[in-house]
């Protein structure tokens, strides 16, 4: 199993050294189009754009619904835009329940969790990928083996552990339990192995220890891989639902954004207008991240898709 999983990532690490990434398709010489080909191409565009329109319409409709008065949410016939564009809905979300706390908690947990994951996995990845020690490969295989255990098996006993530690309703409970998965370590190890050993060797000969070599040579070379890991880790913390739902009892103090969103409907009947506004707000950071990093998207999936969620 592991051999197939490793190959695309190592290929990634190799590709990383090419200075300018060229879209393979752009390198290809294309045969000029015939008239029939041109017509087909027009239809291909129509089909794809139509599919995209259908695909994105739920989000567009949700956005405009967030701007409607609640009484017009389900008007018949349905309208895209309500009688007014009530931007104040977005402000009202914050007055309705501890929404600001949810956002703050989500940012804090996601950023802290990402920092923990980055520190732990780059260090361990360095030890597994570039240092020689006894039992290294055996420990690594054990590490990888834990990737197979699904979250559902872990959450029940993890909750018990949290109770014993007194961590129920706390930030550590939201940050640490799933910050030590073997995935990040695996990713960094694969990447570090692709860096030529000569680069480090020279520094080591000059007397640099592994700590200096790790901080000053290896990490700077791995910037893009670290960035990809950071983005996908942030997203998984930001979107995490099952674990926060289990380990948070008092939503008003330690609820994260997904928990807060889910609890909106319970209060005083469903305020769909505010719920949509809140949903849109929660989508903004992740959407911005994806648009900002779209160039790395395919690359990131090739790396992080191998076990990320």
């Amino acid at each position: 199993m592991s051999t197939e999983l490793i190959s695309p990532v190592t290929a990634m690490a190799d590709a990383e050294h090419d200075a300018a990434p060229v879209e393979p398709s752009e390198r290809r010489g294309r045969a000029p189009l015939t008239t029939g080909g041109r017509i087909r191409l027009v239809f291909a565009h129509l089909g794809v754009y139509l599919a995209a329109l259908v695909f994105v319409s739920p989000l567009v409709y949700a956005f405009f619904s967030a701007l409607k008065p609640n009484s017009e949410m389900f008007s018949m016939p349905p309208t895209l835009v309500g009688s007014e564009l009530r931007w104040s809905n977005f402000a009202d979300v914050f007055a309705y329940g501890p929404f600001l706390t949810y956002i703050g908690n989500s940012f804090f947990v996601a950023i802290a969790g990402t920092l923990v994951v980055l520190a732990v996995s780059t260090m361990a990845g360095y030890a597994f990928g570039r240092l020689r020690w006894k039992g290294r490969d055996l420990v690594f295989v054990l590490f990888l083996g834990t990737l197979m255990v699904p979250q559902e098996v872990l959450v029940i006993p993890m909750f018990q552990v949290m109770q014993w530690l007194g961590w129920v309703d706390s930030y550590p409970a939201l940050i640490f339990p799933f910050a030590f998965t073997a995935f990040g370590t695996f990713l960094m190890r694969q990447f570090f192995r692709g860096i030529p050993f000569e680069l480090e060797e020279a520094a080591r000969v000059d007397g640099a220890g592994p700590i200096r070599s790790f901080l000053q040579i290896i990490l700077p070379l791995a910037k893009s891989a670290v960035a990809v890991l950071a983005v996908f880790t942030f997203l998984s913390f930001w979107n995490s639902y099952l674990w926060p739902l289990i380990v948070t009892v008092d939503y008003a103090s330690h609820g994260t954004l997904p928990i807060g969103l889910a609890s909106f409907s319970g209060l005083q009947g469903t305020r769909w207008d505010l719920q949509m506004a809140a949903a849109i707000i929660s989508m903004v950071p992740t959407t911005v991240l994806v648009i900002a990093l779209q160039k790395h998207l395919v690359k990131g999936i090739a790396m992080a898709g191998l076990g990320g969620r």
Partner: protein, 303 residues
């Protein structure tokens, strides 16, 4: 020759490096021990106990497992719902995202932006996506509203009808997850060696033949990988039914993970929940192993 004189130095160096390596790897090892190894062992133990959230624990042997299969009214339906969801979701999601990746060829203008568009629901919080669909699927929501005002047709109450509820959980999930597999397939298609595609073109392969006989076999490792990952995540489905339908009507859309969640955190039966989680794990392992066995028939590795 020189190795004999070099050996002692090498030995000390190796020892130093081992010590340093231990320093680098110990945070990961400690975390993994506390947050993975301990829970896994504890979970096995809990599965053999009557383990309420508060109060005394009592060893019951295999009783939890027996109870699940013989006395728990929601367990069999949860198993069935999980399989129904996976059986519908995996093929639809894989085929649609493959079609999408194939249509978004390099000849399409603005395909970078389109890719981002299709990828957005993958990274936005699942809870937010589900809430959007919950609004659309209300009896007075957009879908029924359009059907009534355009065609005068009254659509079924999607979330209250057992069969429609499951279909809508699948539809919503396909919409949400489409962009993920699409990117995997796009990446694979871009890495196709131009020489092979060109050779096939010279041999007269066009359109459907080109896709079916040349491209698909060549990206079959990616299709295999995507199918496995999609299947594993589909067996773990939770948020979509939990928020869209609450597992209902009745227990018509309640999957195994929601069953586990309810047993553990609604009814405080952590032992029973742990046992059910191990059954889920066993199902995942068996189905993954079966797929790995079946891959020899249709997956082609080049190297």
């Amino acid at each position: 020759m020189s190795t004999t004189t070099y050996t002692p130095r090498r030995g000390t160096l190796a020892r130093t490096e081992s010590r340093q390596a231990l320093g680098f790897v110990s945070p990961a090892l400690a975390g993994l021990a506390l947050f993975t190894i301990v829970p896994v062992v504890l979970s096995i133990v809990m599965g053999f106990f009557n383990w309420p959230t508060f109060g005394d624990k009592e060893f019951v042997g295999f009783d939890n497992y027996v109870r699940l299969f013989t006395q728990s009214p929601d367990f069999w339906p949860a198993l069935r719902n999980t399989f129904v969801f996976a059986l519908l979701y995996v093929p639809i999601s894989v085929i649609l995202s493959l079609l999408l990746a194939l249509s978004l060829s390099s000849r399409i203008r603005g395909r970078g932006a389109l890719r981002v568009l299709f990828f957005i629901p993958v990274v936005t919080p699942m809870v937010a996506n589900v809430l959007v669909w919950k609004m659309l699927l209300q009896p007075q929501g957009l879908f029924n509203g359009l059907a009534q005002s355009w065609f005068g047709v009254q659509l079924p109450n999607f979330l209250a009808d057992p069969q429609w509820a499951m279909i809508m959980v699948v539809v919503m999930s396909v919409w949400q997850g489409l962009g993920y597999n699409m990117l995997i397939f796009s990446a694979a298609l871009e890495q196709l060696p131009e020489s092979v595609v060109e050779a096939a073109r010279i041999d007269g392969a066009k359109g459907f033949r080109m896709i079916w006989s040349v491209m698909l076999p060549m990206i079959s490792p990616s299709i295999f990988f995507a199918s496995i990952m999609t299947m594993i995540t589909s067996l773990q489905v939770f948020a979509q039914p939990q928020l869209l339908t609450g597992g209902g009507p009745g227990n018509a859309t309640q999957p195994l993970v929601q069953f586990i969640y309810n047993q553990g955190f609604k009814f405080q039966e952590l032992g029973l929940a742990a046992a059910a989680a191990w059954i889920l794990f066993a199902i995942i392992i068996v189905l993954t192993a079966l797929q790995f066995r079946a891959q020899k028939k249709w997956v082609h590795y080049e190297h």
